[in-house]
Symmetry: C3
């Protein structure tokens, strides 16, 4: 059983904050990388294609890319079989967008929130099975005015709750702003009188943190 | 006169950032807690009820809850009479939503902004009367695209200005992201060459800060 | 050639975060200040007039104000001729708003994004010509839910990319929240084991950083 050894680094940030590029630079510290693109064809527009192509062009050719709609279960199975060194999931935002699109017709708003909560828990349970570290990219979407549309409000709440849930398990959380990466949580952090100094980190920091033995830091994991 | 002894801690963050839970955990460090719920019945929807119920379930039973539309004046009077140890106001966002809803028909946009500014000043003056510390929860709503609707823009501006005004008086400001709480201001902070180190804090830090004598740190209060 | 000596400080933040006031307080550390107001008359509304008047009232009278639609080229020429000590550009958000307004009818969404990218590069090239430091104010607009409108999405992406581009060249980046100014990048920062401590800064810090010889710190500039 590897369940209590899972290692997660959560790469949060707004749009165009540099969070995906940072997660990719972290993943390049390993060799056998699986890139799970949750976007697939969520939206057919020139702006979308342009962004996807830019993302693709900067990924090393030796990475194995698996795209939505392949479910996370199969990705995890593949990683375990292939002795993958690191899994990069980019991103929870688009994954949640798919869950919304697939289910919004079938449920009342209240039921939809509950359903998304269950899907989130299922997703996280899969991540916990992995023997290799996982780098998870997600958007901060809760710092603007509350959306006028009900679907916008549900999305904001469901993704925010997913970020909280993944963050509570993660060894590392960073928050990217304008290409700078603010550390919010790490395994070896030490609170003195309720205070723990923080700062800006680079890919070497994340790589080193995820290579530490998580069992040594388990108090922090459960904190 | 207690006016220059008021102690405020401002708990800022986006939606689902963990700011309310953090403020509650801070409040639990005291015993006689008054919880001022500004939301009341701002909106009748299943998603709203679900969120309210979750919030209620995690509050200790011995806390005294006072809900909107009871005005802050009466809450402050109650706290003074009952020797309350800490007042938790959750949240300015919903309070401002009420001020908007009550006044949007009566004023032009320009007048509405001025009116909200006056109401904000009145609210803050009430907080200054309190002998006990006050924990104030509010949303960051200004980091998305400017809303298309005029009411959205006015709300964003009025709440942003209220956060600035409360923050300028506060001994402590934290900004929550994904369950982590970044310290932005504290009473005993010390700038060296224009720089003051910051970090992540927990409830012990906030409790300790608010139990310090504010008069010692009054230069910071007025800064 | 002064091209590799340019000094930029980027003042990021949400609406009503205190970023403009902070940039102005930094600019007051110099005497010969040119203030480039990119807003002009982007929108004729009482709320807008009110905000513009508040901004104007707090600027020293001896500052030279140049307003949109004067293009940056002429502002830069003026600064060079007049031995200006610092240029304050407030803000990229409104500048981008103008670029959108002028071009949205002429281009497809894909072309518009490319056009805005070119305009951004042209703008940055102008800043690089300056002999004096430049303080650049911009909004974080990417931390809310993705806008429903295509123009909102393009604006969010184009401004986010501009913030990334300016930030990658900047000696200093700060992010303002509720009147507090979090340092995200500075010229003399030093990563140890991938970590660089960060904190809150004031105007003295920014002034001192921008008066350092940038050539000494050029490795950081290109990082």
């Amino acid at each position: 059983m590897q369940e209590n050894k899972f290692k997660i680094s959560l790469f949060l940030g707004g749009g165009q904050s540099g969070k995906s590029l940072f997660a990719e630079n972290c993943a390049k510290k390993w060799h056998h990388v699986v890139y799970y693109a949750t976007g697939g064809l969520v939206e057919k527009s020139p702006e979308w294609e342009f962004r996807i192509q830019n993302h693709r062009a900067r990924r090393p050719e030796h990475w194995k890319t698996i795209e939505h709609p392949v479910p996370l279960e199969e990705v995890v199975k593949y990683c375990e079989e292939q002795k993958t060194e690191v899994l990069l999931v980019d991103c929870l935002t688009l994954w949640m967008g798919w869950q919304m699109a697939l289910n919004i017709q079938n449920y009342s708003p209240f039921q939809l929130l509950k359903h998304l909560e269950n899907e989130t828990q299922h997703f996280i349970n899969q991540l916990k099975i992995l023997s290799c570290p996982v780098l998870v990219v997600s958007n901060e979407v809760g710092e603007g005015v509350i959306p006028g549309s009900e679907s916008g409000r549900i999305f904001r709440e469901a993704l925010g709750n997913m970020n909280l849930a993944v963050g509570s398990l993660a060894q590392c959380i960073t928050f990217s702003i304008a290409g700078q990466h603010l550390l919010l949580k790490n395994m070896s952090q030490n609170f003195i009188n309720g205070f723990c100094p923080m700062g800006i980190v680079d890919e070497n920091f994340i790589f080193t943190e995820l290579n530490k033995d998580p069992l040594v830091g388990e108090n922090n994991v459960n904190k």
